[in-house]
């Protein structure tokens, strides 16, 4: 039985490869299923892994690329929060809460999503991307709670929410 195993895997891979010879179409088709087509397209097309994605792991790789985009954005936001802490000390209280929730995005939501995608249990990856929205809202709410002025990371927070929703849509295709 153990000898059969690699052979079966090979056969399955070969059969799936046949319909997947045009990756660009896969990227477009995938992005069409998400709520932000052009955002999705720009992220996937800028990552060489999209073009290498092959066979049965196509969508998984696209999901991983999108989760990576969420990761990069969360790092960008955390750096910005650190800058704001210095430039706007009066915002320290909400900034601290924002840092805490984006730390959760980076170290829990993204980490879980990557592990779950790699291991083939996309539902946990979906939960992680759903949570990004909740955490980003905590940060926004927290800032609105204390300050009337526009929060300088609101745009980034909108970005990460959109990225996580695109990631969620892609992940749902794997369920």
């Amino acid at each position: 039985m153990r000898n059969l195993f690699p052979i079966l895997m090979l056969l399955t891979n070969l059969s799936l490869n046949i319909d997947n010879n045009n990756n660009n179409n896969i990227i477009r088709a995938t992005c069409r299923e998400t709520p932000y087509y052009s955002l999705c397209l720009s992220v996937l097309e800028s990552d060489p892994r999209s073009y290498k994605a092959e066979g049965s792991d196509d969508i998984t790789t696209l999901g991983l690329i999108m989760v990576d985009a969420v990761k990069s954005k969360s790092i960008e936001i955390m750096k910005k929060l650190k800058e704001l802490e210095k430039s706007n000390p009066e915002w320290r209280v909400p900034l601290n809460q924002c840092y805490m929730v984006y730390n959760t995005v980076l170290r829990a939501d993204v980490t879980v999503a990557v592990e779950a995608l790699k291991r083939g249990v996309p539902k946990f990856a979906e939960d992680g991307m759903d949570d990004v929205v909740v955490e980003a809202q905590t940060c926004e709410f927290s800032f609105n709670y204390y300050n009337k002025s526009d929060f300088p990371i609101s745009n980034m927070s909108k970005d990460i929410v959109e990225l996580s929703k695109v990631a969620k849509s892609i992940i749902r295709m794997l369920l």
Binding site: M1, L4, F5, L8, M9, L11, T12, S56, K71, I75, M78, K79, K82, R92, V93, N96, Q97, Y99, M100, V101, N103, T104, L106, R107, A108, D109, V110, T111, V112, E115, A116, K118, R119, G120, V121, P122, K123, F124, D127, G128, D130, D131, V133, V134, E135, A136, Q137, T138, C139, E140, F141, S142, N144, Y145, Y146, V161, K165, K168, L175
Partner: protein, 659 residues
């Protein structure tokens, strides 16, 4: 004594209809913003001072705990909860009724999967609030993450529960088999992890499995492993020492894996083997959930020794559009006897239940049907309510369930994974995630003939103390009645509601359709509902968790009864999902409406009509906790009074022990 209690407890019920209850449907964009803003200004000095102190503390913690640069923004393992809690341990948010503009509500994920974020306080959690959320008589690990129940069984005087467990964090990952034992399904003792990911065929996870007893009393376990290439395979394990009633050590069969995904099945769509049952030829048979495109299916295998398996042609059953079937369960129920049936039983007085956990929507669906042992096929009694499109065990938060036959008490017992519905930041801070429900017995509903009955195992009644009874309390339209029971965070509540039959006849029918989930919740008033209980509710009613009936009468005079649980006002915290759960519940001629609710801190389990419909929810109040958690009766119907008779017990803690 009970009469006296009644008078003391219900001061307003007869005199002035209690507190008017019409403010429940209060809209989110009402004028409440104006006074709230004033209050905020008045408090701003306090906030700034508190904030400064908090920041100083935080600054010290961060300064000496971490580098100040951006080097530390590198994704790594989930942070230990102390780190996160240091950041939020200083409760920065003052208690207030301020309502912020709920920005982001519309852009939230679809209401169906997510619900609304109507909270007003961003991440308000103090350690005291989070500590309150831990349950007292439900099973949960000491800390960290749990998901599916695995291989439940009864062996040499002990109930065993294995479960998907992450020993390292309060989020999913690093899955091994946690293990606990109990004499009575209620008082548990934690044991060391039973199986870890240490072989190429399960190195990426020791996933869900089921136990089977062989006729000689031997025990085997089949479980899914995620291989070094993340391929899903089935593996065999057995107790290292069958004479150990605690089954602490498990041996994995050296010939693992015993099953790999068959041709045509995705390498990651092949998991969660069932308990085996016997075939007419004397072989063993199991089923494993999968999918083909979007059709959820259940594959069938026969075996003699659990090492070599033969795939049957076709499948046990499949339902188009239901997606991947996880944690399939398949078992007989008796149409005549009260007791449960061992998985291999069959015969004319038996129906077979097929259950699937749908990966697509994360709910557990079942259907009653007929099993053809010769062909290895099952057909539903009613294709309209087939698996995945009809009935559910529970219309709330309840997934990845697994049943087992308890040979000691001759009953079938159900476990499940009750997940968190707050933010992962809160879970990490709290240090744990997920619960098991109180195990439920499963029976065929002989009265309706169309559904199962699930009910908390009788042993939970042994935790009851301090009975309070409230007899024939009249709750008039638009009123609310407090029930004085002392602390209301650990309760078992049995309530019956009588509705004036003449009024039911008099009320005009309506062509409006009702649906718990799409309705306006407990605040949407109809002629004949909603009415029921408010649990985990504070004195000001700013946090409340209504559990209620809603009777709908159509134009032809037919009644349809709904059983719902509205979480939209269950917490002021912004990072909590607040759904409305519920479904219809069959009510037969002459039956009173009855409900039972178990409240145990952050879990509320409710059963209507003795278990025909169940709803489990997770609740995370910020005010209605400890001594401020209260219970009320309410009636938001416009045309009928209801008469309620209620028994409420305080529930003792089950004191889960560690080994």
């Amino acid at each position: 004594m009970q009469n006296q209690k009644k008078k003391m407890s219900i001061p307003n019920s007869e005199t002035n209809n209690g507190v008017p209850y019409t403010h429940l449907p209060e809209s989110d964009n009402d004028s409440g913003n104006t006074p709230a803003r004033c209050r905020k200004t008045n408090r701003s000095t306090f906030i700034i001072l508190t904030g400064l102190v908090a920041f100083l503390l935080f600054f010290v913690a961060v300064k000496y705990g971490n580098n100040d640069g951006t080097d530390d923004i590198i994704p790594g393992p989930v942070p230990p909860h102390e780190t996160v809690c240091n950041m939020i341990g200083s409760n920065l948010m003052p208690l207030t009724t301020m309502r912020t503009v709920a920005r982001g509500v519309e852009e939230g994920v679809s209401a169906k999967s997510h619900g609304h974020f109507l909270g007003v306080r961003p991440f308000p959690w103090t350690q005291k609030m989070l500590a309150w959320q831990r349950t007292s008589f439900h099973f949960q690990p000491k800390k960290n993450w749990m998901n599916d129940p695995n291989g439940p069984l009864y062996y040499k005087g002990w109930y065993h529960l294995f479960y998907q467990y992450n020993p390292e964090a309060a989020v999913w990952g690093n899955i091994v088999w946690g293990h606990a034992v109990s004499r009575d399904l209620i008082h548990w003792q934690h044991l060391p992890v039973a199986m870890v990911a240490d072989q190429w065929y399960d190195i990426n996870g020791v996933w869900t499995g089921s136990a089977t007893f062989l006729p000689n009393g031997d025990l085997i376990m089949l479980y899914t492993g995620s291989t070094n290439e993340s391929i899903q395979v089935q593996n065999l394990a057995y107790p290292a020492d069958p004479s150990d009633p605690l089954l602490r050590k498990w041996i994995k069969y050296e010939g693992n894996p015993v099953l790999i995904p068959p041709p045509g099945i995705g390498l990651k769509d092949f998991r969660d083997p069932t308990t085996a049952w016997t075939t007419p030829e004397g072989k063993w048979r199991i089923t494993i959930g999968s999918k083909i495109n979007k059709t959820g299916i259940s594959l069938v295998y026969d075996t003699i020794d659990f090492k070599k398996f033969e795939l049957l042609k076709g499948m046990l059953h499949g339902v188009p559009g239901t997606g991947m079937w996880e944690c399939v369960d398949f078992y007989p129920v008796s149409k005549i006897a009260e007791n449960g049936l061992d998985t291999s039983e069959n015969g004319p007085a038996v129906k077979h239940v097929l259950k699937s956990s749908l990966d697509d929507d994360r709910n557990d669906y079942y259907a009653l049907g007929t099993y053809n042992a010769g062909a290895g096929k099952w057909v539903p009694d009613n294709p309209i309510i087939d698996v995945g499109i009809g009935l559910r065990y529970d219309y709330g938060n309840f997934y990845a369930s697994k049943s087992f036959y308890d040979q000691e008490k001759k009953r079938r017992v159900l476990w499940a994974w009750i997940k968190e519905t707050d933010s992962e930041a809160a879970d990490i801070c709290r240090g744990w995630a997920s619960l098991q429900p109180i195990p439920r017995t499963i029976q065929y509903d002989k009265k309706t003939g169309s559904n199962l009955i699930t009910w908390p195992v009788a042993e939970v009644d042994n935790l009851r103390s301090n009975n309070n009874e409230f007899n024939k309390v009249v709750v008039k339209p638009g009123s609310i009645v407090p029930l004085e029971v002392g602390s209301a965070t650990q309760l078992d509540i049995m309530a019956e509601f009588e509705v004036d039959q003449n009024m039911l006849k008099k009320v005009d029918g309506s062509n409006a359709t009702y649906d718990c989930i799409k309705s306006g919740g407990s605040g949407e008033r109809g002629a004949l509902g909603p009415f029921g209980l408010l649990v985990l509710t504070d004195n000001s009613l700013s946090e409340q968790t209504p559990i209620y009936f809603y009777i709908a009468k159509d134009l032809t005079g037919n009644f349809n009864t709904f059983f719902c649980n509205d979480l939209t006002r269950s917490s002021e915290a912004s990072d909590v999902r607040k759904l409305i759960y519920g479904s219809t519940v069959p009510v037969l001629q002459g039956e009173k409406l009855s409900l039972r609710t178990l409240v145990d801190h952050s879990i509320v389990e409710s059963f209507a009509q003795n278990g025909r419909t169940a709803i489990t929810s997770r609740v995370y109040p910020t005010k209605a906790i400890y001594e401020n958690a209260k219970i009320y009766l309410f009636n938001n119907a416009t045309d009928i009074s209801v008469t309620a008779t209620i028994k409420i017990w305080q529930m003792n803690s089950a004191n889960i022990k560690s080994n």
